[in-house]
């Protein structure tokens, strides 16, 4: 199969991206974000979960959480490139909400076949979800998990669960007699405890989840295969979020160095400032092109999907680190303070950089595909 020249990014995708951009610009400018999430600078603060639930409800009503749900399960079945465009705008706004988690669960459930349909229908009905598939080391790829399943009950702990306090359902990976299996669990199930993590990123919440004889509905008994199928979309969406956030970092920093004067010139006059910002732009563009290529590949060229998604997330992780570093550095002293908004994105990007595999991990996976096994 081959990819269409325009990445399959048609009229509908354009309209969705534009309306998302306008939605966040109108409803959630950066000063609102800062006022909402940055109230407590105490580095030993307890974990918080600040978000605008009514805006989230508007997003649900707009149908944004069901874009990726197949039409057969009551969703809109939009192509991945269109969803990537929306997620890019979400990242630009650094909007705290469980959209990524819900999309991630959607892609995994869609790979579960008939057993995932009931769960997908719940997402189609407006419920939010998140993946609970990582072990204490943050690994998921090898099928390792600290949750065990027996007789339809879960016991153990799932780690690094994103936006855990904003969702209604978890998709849990647990070791069962059949191997790695996936379970669909209500967030308020008896025996389930959400233990919030105190994290650096102010735009997300994160938790580890303890299961004590929690009743769960199995959606797949070949969990590893399902995750392998869903992961390219999961990496690609996170990379799209990073691209959008990096565009905000670039634009904000360019504005600052155009205004701020030192040595009788705006900072951006000096090539020591100008050239690194050009390099940030170049890194963003590499990443953006690879995100849309990966998204298009998942729909149109599945044999290349894994390869391009590794490229997209590797590139995105590098973009997140580089754009963040330059955004603080080029703001100078003010950029090092809590009052300047750049730290919100700096922290979100650091979180995203390391989530679902950093650049070196994705390059190592890509190398296995292109070069065979390492020494």
């Amino acid at each position: 199969m081959t990819q269409p020249d325009n990445f399959g990014f048609g009229e509908e995708a354009s309209l969705l991206k534009e309306s998302a951009r306008k939605f966040f610009a109108d409803n959630f400018p950066c000063d609102r974000l800062h006022a909402m999430v940055a109230g407590d600078p105490n580095p030993e603060r307890m974990s918080a979960c600040h978000w605008d639930q009514s805006l989230w409800q508007q997003m649900v009503d707009l149908g944004w959480t069901v874009l990726a749900v197949p039409e057969s399960a009551g969703g809109l079945g939009m192509p991945l490139v269109a969803v990537a465009g929306l997620v890019e705008e979400l990242g630009r706004a650094a909007f705290p909400c469980p959209l990524l988690g819900t999309l991630n669960a959607t892609y995994a459930l869609a790979a579960c076949g008939a057993d995932g349909e009931a769960a997908l229908a719940e997402i189609a009905a407006g419920l939010a979800a998140s993946l609970a598939i990582s072990d204490r080391d943050g690994s998921w790829a090898g099928g390792s998990t600290d949750v065990a399943a027996a007789d339809g009950k879960l016991n153990g702990t799932a780690w690094f669960v994103q936006d855990a306090r904003k969702v209604d359902r978890f998709l849990v990976a647990a070791q069962s007699a059949a191997g790695l299996s996936l379970y669909w669990v209500a967030a308020d199930a008896t025996g389930l405890s959400i233990m919030p993590d105190a994290i650096v990123d102010l735009t997300r919440d994160q938790a580890h989840i303890q299961f004590d004889n929690v009743e769960a509905q199995e959606v797949s008994n070949s969990g590893l295969a399902v995750l392998h199928q869903a992961m390219p979309a999961i990496w690609t969406m996170l990379a799209a979020d990073i691209v959008g956030a990096a565009e905000w970092q670039l634009q904000t920093t360019v504005e600052y160095v155009t205004t701020r004067q030192q040595f009788e010139h705006p900072l951006g006059f000096f090539q020591a400032v100008k050239h690194p910002l050009v390099d940030v732009m170049i890194q963003i563009d590499e990443c953006k092109s690879l995100v849309y290529t990966a998204a298009c590949a998942i729909d149109c060229e599945p044999e290349k999907a894994v390869q391009y998604a590794h490229m997209a997330k590797a590139s995105a992780s590098d973009t997140a680190a580089f754009a963040s570093g330059r955004s603080v550095q080029c703001h100078g002293g003010i950029g090092f303070t809590w009052e300047c908004f750049v730290h919100l994105y700096f922290k979100r990007q650091k979180h995203s950089q390391l989530l679902w595999g950093d650049a070196a991990w994705h390059r190592a996976q890509l190398a296995t595909i292109l070069l065979g096994d390492a020494a």
Binding site: A13, S289, L290, T293, M311, A314
Partner: protein, 411 residues
């Protein structure tokens, strides 16, 4: 390749078939002389004669200049040169020798020359009988091209030219030069004019050409000195003082962003089996042993090779995205990165290939034991030509920062 063929119009499909048939019967085969890597390094008259004969035969078959109007020696077709170029690469033909003529002079003469001049110059340019060179850079005008000092003084309906051009590839074989010079010293940009100049007939009579040798040891480019060379006003392109605008047409086509596709051929001498630099690098890493194991199994090298693979794929997909307006925030943002990225990625890939080769990277073209015939050290050294020529990487970053990001202009 098949992707591209599947989108052909009926006219293009028929034309593609014509190209394939002709190339099947007329591929010149193994050359009788050792050829350089590109036309810009042609050193001997034997190399030139062989390549000129090849370009002439392709021109006679209608494969060169086919998108140009018929009355200037072209084929009067639309979007067909691209098809020839694809088929030429596919058939692994020799390259054309007249690359400056085809890529830079021809579109400039077409868009800015008088009708009589076009009809006289372009057919022999397309056929390769007249080799062309470019007189832009000077010792004092590199990145700051508009500061050229070569001066033409009016004398009746003639001009008297004095000055010094450098980095002039192919000047030692060229009949003609496209020449950016100054006709007015009081205005930097508006004082520039653009001429085509017959330099071969004036050798020793106002024009001298001296070879410059590159860090690779290859020759191919030159310095050209003008001393009281008299030129007819009829050789001027466009109006007096419009030289900068005309030069932009040349540079746009040089950077691959012009209206007309440059006729291209090539692939014959390529020692590499693959279409991309990183695919060749991967093959090298798989076939090179270090400490008894393939270099491709070394985790650190793997990481760096993958970084190059990703950068190269990103550039490729940038070029695709550049044609999708809905995915561009600024119309020139991705396009203006092209030259910078292509040259820097190629440079870093070549540098990495040398590390993969290890001590064998010390072996050069003349050594039978050199991996890949010594192509990687050659490519690495030559890559600095790419990051310097046509606007250095530093100038490219200024352009991007100022035109795309809107940052204040640097001095």
């Amino acid at each position: 390749m098949s992707d591209s063929a599947s989108k052909d119009t009926p006219e293009q499909a028929a034309y593609r078939q014509h190209c394939r048939d002709w190339l099947q019967d007329n591929h010149p085969g193994e050359p009788p002389v050792r050829l350089p890597l590109s036309a810009l390094e042609i050193m001997t008259p034997e190399q030139l004669a062989y390549l000129q004969a090849w370009q002439k035969s392709a021109f006679d078959a209608g494969l060169v200049g086919c998108d140009y109007p018929e009355n200037v020696g072209g084929g009067g077709r639309t979007d067909c040169q691209r098809i020839v170029n694809e088929e030429m690469i596919r058939a692994r033909t020799p390259f054309f020798p007249n690359v400056i003529g085809l890529g830079m002079a021809a579109p400039t003469v077409l868009f800015h020359g008088q009708e009589e001049l076009k009809q006289r110059l372009l057919p022999r340019l397309f056929s390769g009988e007249d080799i062309w060179c470019q007189g832009f850079s000077e010792p004092g005008a590199g990145s700051d091209l508009a500061s050229v000092q070569t001066f033409a003084e009016r004398k009746g309906d003639k001009w008297v030219i004095n000055g010094h051009k450098v980095w002039t590839s192919l000047a030692h074989f060229a009949e003609w030069m496209i020449l950016l010079l100054r006709t007015d010293k009081s205005h930097k940009y508006d004082g520039l004019s653009y001429f085509v100049v017959p330099i071969r007939s004036a050798l020793g009579k106002g024009v001298s050409v001296r070879p410059l040798i590159k860090i690779t040891g290859e020759t191919g480019f030159n310095e050209v000195i003008f001393e009281d060379l008299e030129v007819d006003d009829g050789y001027r392109l466009d109006e007096l003082g419009k030289g900068w605008q005309v030069a932009m047409t040349t540079l746009l086509h040089e950077r691959g962003a012009g209206e007309l596709q440059t006729p291209r051929a090539g692939g014959l001498k390529s020692k590499s089996t693959h279409a991309t630099n990183t695919a060749n690098l991967i093959e090298l890493a798989q076939n090179t042993l270090r400490d008894g194991r393939p270099a491709a199994s070394d985790p650190l090298l793997r990481d760096r090779i993958m970084r190059q693979v990703i950068r190269e794929a990103g550039l490729q997909q940038n070029q695709r995205r550049a044609r999708v307006p809905a995915l561009l925030d600024h119309p020139m943002r991705v396009q203006l990165q092209n030259k910078l990225l292509a040259s820097e990625i190629a440079q870093d890939t070549a540098a990495l290939a040398l590390e993969v080769e290890g001590p064998s990277a010390s072996l050069y073209l003349g050594d039978d034991n050199a991996p890949a015939g010594g192509q990687w050290p050659l490519a690495y050294m030559n890559s600095y030509g790419m990051t310097i020529a046509a606007g250095t990487s530093e100038v490219q970053r200024n352009i991007l920062g100022e035109r795309v990001l809107g940052l204040p202009k640097s001095k």
